[in-house]
């Protein structure tokens, strides 16, 4: 229950956004079953959020160490391009998955080495792959949108198990897996310690460099998974646009989730709720029929509001206001 209380601001924000979207577009909450698969706007939010949700899982850990990973969008493009090439060449799905995920892991390790061992500032270290990565992806696809037709691989993007779309299952499973990994082991505590005070952590023998490397590796792996889903979904790899700007949505999701960019305490669940808030907004604005020009502005306004309400300064003010009203009520 304590866990639930910590997540209250995020859950509340999600509820408010969902209600608002529901008011604008009736039918938002209706879920139907067609051909043994769940359909509906709500399900759609869950499917569409998959890439950002996956990125947010890795990003949460990276940000907890006081880092940031700008390269995740580019890593999506690289792994997507490689996966599409392998599928088009007729390789089996397990091979494609293994190679692509390993590549994502490798990209993450590259970032991790730059940050943890060469002490390059995370924003610069990951900017390198952010810029170069898209170029690499374009080299792999030869500059064209590489398409394929392989139902087995496309299942990752559009299939369903027990009526639940695969993307939803994948991000839920990954969230659960990483969440259990960091919280059932001591990784979570040690990552938080490094993020809050790296010097003090190293002085008690915490292997900070290894931990930081691990977070970037996990982030790379998450990006590779997101790349798979997008590639499988569109039956092709678009090196120019796959994952474009998604790193920013992922960072936003983490921030809405309440993890400070200054590092320290983190919650993967809260980041996932943050990703859902962003996607619910996207879907809601699309469904509302407003001109698309409004989309970004409305999104920005909602996000500023959420972040303002979460800021410690406002929280203090609200607490004072509540106490004041309570005292007044008691006087009466």
């Amino acid at each position: 229950m304590k866990k639930f209380r910590q997540l209250r601001p995020q859950l509340l924000a999600l509820a408010v956004v969902l209600v608002m979207v529901g008011l604008i577009s009736p039918g938002f909450f209706s879920v139907t079953v067609q051909n043994g698969r769940l359909y509906g706007s709500l399900i759609d939010v869950g499917v569409r959020v998959a890439p950002v949700a996956l990125l947010a899982i890795g990003m949460t850990l990276v940000i907890a160490t006081k880092g940031i990973d700008l390269s995740v969008g580019a890593v999506m493009a690289i792994t997507g391009a490689v996966a599409a090439t392998l599928v088009a060449d007729g390789h089996s799905v397990p091979v494609v998955l293994a190679v692509s995920l390993a590549l994502g892991l490798l990209c993450g390790i590259w970032n991790g080495v730059l940050v943890a061992f060469l002490d390059i500032q995370p924003i610069i270290a990951t900017l390198i792959l952010m810029v170069a990565g898209r170029g690499i992806a374009q080299l792999i696809t030869g500059g064209v949108i590489l398409t394929f037709n392989d139902p087995a691989f496309s299942f990752i993007g559009s299939g369903a198990v027990l009526g639940i779309p695969m993307p939803i299952l994948i991000w839920l499973a990954m969230g659960l897996a990483v969440g259990l990994l960091v919280r059932r082991s001591a990784l979570g505590l040690l990552i938080e310690a490094v993020g809050i005070n790296r010097r003090a952590s190293m002085l008690v023998g915490v292997r900070a460099r290894f931990l930081i490397l691990a977070t970037y590796a996990i982030s790379g792996l998450c990006a590779a998974m997101a790349g798979m889903i997008v590639t499988a979904d569109i039956h092709g790899a678009d090196a120019n646009n796959a994952g474009l700007w998604l790193e920013l949505d992922a960072i936003l999701a983490v921030v809405i989730g309440g993890t400070s960019l200054a590092g320290g305490r983190f919650s993967i669940t809260a980041s996932l709720i943050g990703a859902l808030i962003i996607q619910a907004l996207n879907t809601g604005i699309l469904m509302s029929g407003w001109p698309p020009e409004f989309n970004l502005i409305v999104k920005a306004v909602v996000i500023v509001t959420i972040l303002t309400l979460q800021s410690p300064a406002v929280a203090d003010e609200l607490t004072m206001l509540r106490d004041f009203l309570r005292r007044k009520g008691a006087q009466k």
Partner: protein
């Protein structure tokens, strides 16, 4: 040498957030003298310098420069009055050229543009006066710190020209560089400049200064000519004790154990940090480390714990040679260390008291073997009770605890790892009296239980009370070892005044 007061200040007061850091301080600098400003940490040296150089405004008092009352409101204004400053971290720009650094903000102009040729010529001439052969067109980063220091001095003197403040100018210089810096200072003294130098190296004070002023706890202790001030008197001025009255009460059980030394460091040292020393530590003893600030106390601790790597010597644990090149390795051999800077190096502020207590133990077990919640709770409860950590709430973020309670939690963190050798760097600094006494008792208790301890402290009574041996440091050398009945406050202070080279 003239005897006119060049820069004088009377009754300077300064408070920060209601805490008085300078209380009625007087300071007089004469033209053509080198004046050392001394005092331990927190004595108020840097605050005084910042007021005299215009970086801070004083709350009360007067300031006169060459007889006229002045009130600099900024560093630039002080510079225009003739007061220049060179800070410890040289305040120049590495990526600009030597000439640009010398004339930044006041470049010679020709039709509104920088006259580079003249700037170069001026720079050349200026540097020649200091016997520095630096190419004005080379970037500053090209030159070693010692040259940059002299360039900074040249700029400051050229800008101001009456008074020069130097904050720890020799901290990162080797002996030869210090000498050439001192040559420059002698030359400036001849020219009639008043020079104020802040330093922790007493040898250098005696080598170069004409007068010293000592501050302690925000008050002026005294101002004397160095020729009339024996080293021993200077040290007691800085520490603030009349030697006669200082008689610590020794713990009668603090005697040397007859066990074999488990931890040995032979010829252990690191250049520029601490001269090679021999140290053998036995289980069941407290080795006290005494010395003034900058004498190499913390450097010794950093070396023992593997934070710094030694460049000479060998460490052995139980007669096996070991490498101690990181805290991890030291911890693996049963070491633990409570650092001096509790906030930046000790606590992990946002984590709870419980998490802070189990952190070192968790680090030794590795990430894959988490400490079960039940065990963590038991450890936290045990140490919160044993050390009386308040409030007794294991879930509270440690940053909300008082300094003394934070220190106890950090001690608990190491005790949970059951260390064989515990190094405590200033364990009682900045904590309240109650916690102070508890920590001293704890040190005695741990010794009696057979732990080996190394305790660094600037509180001499404290060292006298609990140490079985005291090692005295001076100018980055281990100069003296005191045992048994030799351990008295007088003997420690006396040894602290010994110049480092005498070892």
């Amino acid at each position: 040498m003239t005897h006119d007061a060049l820069l004088s200040a009377q009754g300077i007061d300064k408070s920060f957030f209601g805490v008085k850091v300078l209380d009625g301080v007087d300071f007089t600098l004469r033209a053509g003298e080198i004046h050392a400003l001394l005092g331990e940490n927190g004595a108020g040296k840097s605050t005084l310098v910042k007021i005299l150089t215009g970086a801070y405004r004083r709350d009360a008092g007067q300031m006169h420069l060459a007889g006229a009352e002045v009130e600099p409101r900024s560093v630039a204004e002080a510079q225009n009055l003739g007061i220049g400053t060179v800070y410890q971290e040289v305040n120049l720009l590495d990526n600009l050229t030597v000439a640009e650094n010398l004339y930044l903000g006041r470049q010679p102009r020709w039709m509104g543009l920088t006259d580079r040729r003249r700037m170069r010529a001026d720079a050349h001439e200026l540097l020649a006066r200091y016997h520095v052969t630096a190419d004005p067109d080379e970037t500053l980063a090209h030159y070693p710190v010692a040259v940059r220091q002299i360039i900074a001095i040249a700029r400051a003197v050229d800008l101001s020209g009456k008074v020069l403040f130097l904050d720890e100018p020799t901290a990162s210089l080797d002996a030869r560089e210090v000498q050439s810096l001192f040559d420059v200072l002698h030359q400036l003294r001849q020219q009639g400049l008043g020079i104020v130098i802040i330093t922790h190296f007493l040898d250098q004070v005696y080598q170069i200064a004409d007068r010293v002023t000592v501050l302690r706890n925000g008050r002026m202790v005294g101002s004397r000519a160095i020729s009339e001030l024996p080293r021993r008197d200077l040290v007691s001025m800085m520490l603030g004790r009349e030697l006669a009255e200082a008689t610590g009460h020794r713990d009668p059980d603090a005697t040397e154990p007859d066990t074999a030394a488990a931890f040995k460091f032979e010829n252990y040292g690191k250049r520029g940090s601490i001269a090679p020393f021999d140290l053998a530590i036995r289980p069941g003893e407290v080795v006290g480390i005494a010395g003034l600030l900058g004498s190499g106390r913390t450097e010794t601790a950093r070396l023992l714990f593997g934070i710094d790597r030694p460049d000479s010597g060998q460490a052995t644990v139980d007669d096996h040679p070991v490498s101690l090149h990181s805290p991890e390795e030291a911890i693996a051999h049963g070491f633990g260390m409570c650092p001096e800077e509790r906030k930046s190096d000790g606590i992990v502020g946002d984590l709870s008291v419980r998490q802070n207590i189990v952190l070192a133990l968790q680090a030794t077990r590795g990430w894959a073997r988490p400490i079960p919640r039940r065990e963590a709770d038991a450890l936290a409860t045990q140490y919160i009770q044993a050390l009386d950590i308040r409030p007794p709430d294991p879930d509270r973020p440690i940053k909300f605890l008082s300094g003394g309670n934070q220190q106890k939690a950090i001690l608990a963190r190491w005790l949970a790892t059951e260390p064989r050798l515990l190094i405590l760097d200033e364990p009682t600094r900045g904590i309240d009296i109650g916690a102070h006494a508890e920590i001293i008792n704890l040190i005695g208790k741990l010794r009696a239980e057979g732990m080996a301890l190394v305790v660094i402290s600037s509180e001499i009574e404290e060292l006298v009370a609990f140490s079985t041996r005291v090692i005295v440091l001076s100018d980055r050398h281990h100069v003296r070892e005191l045992k048994g009945a030799e351990i008295t406050a007088e003997a420690i202070v006396e040894a602290m005044a010994v110049p480092g080279e005498a070892a």
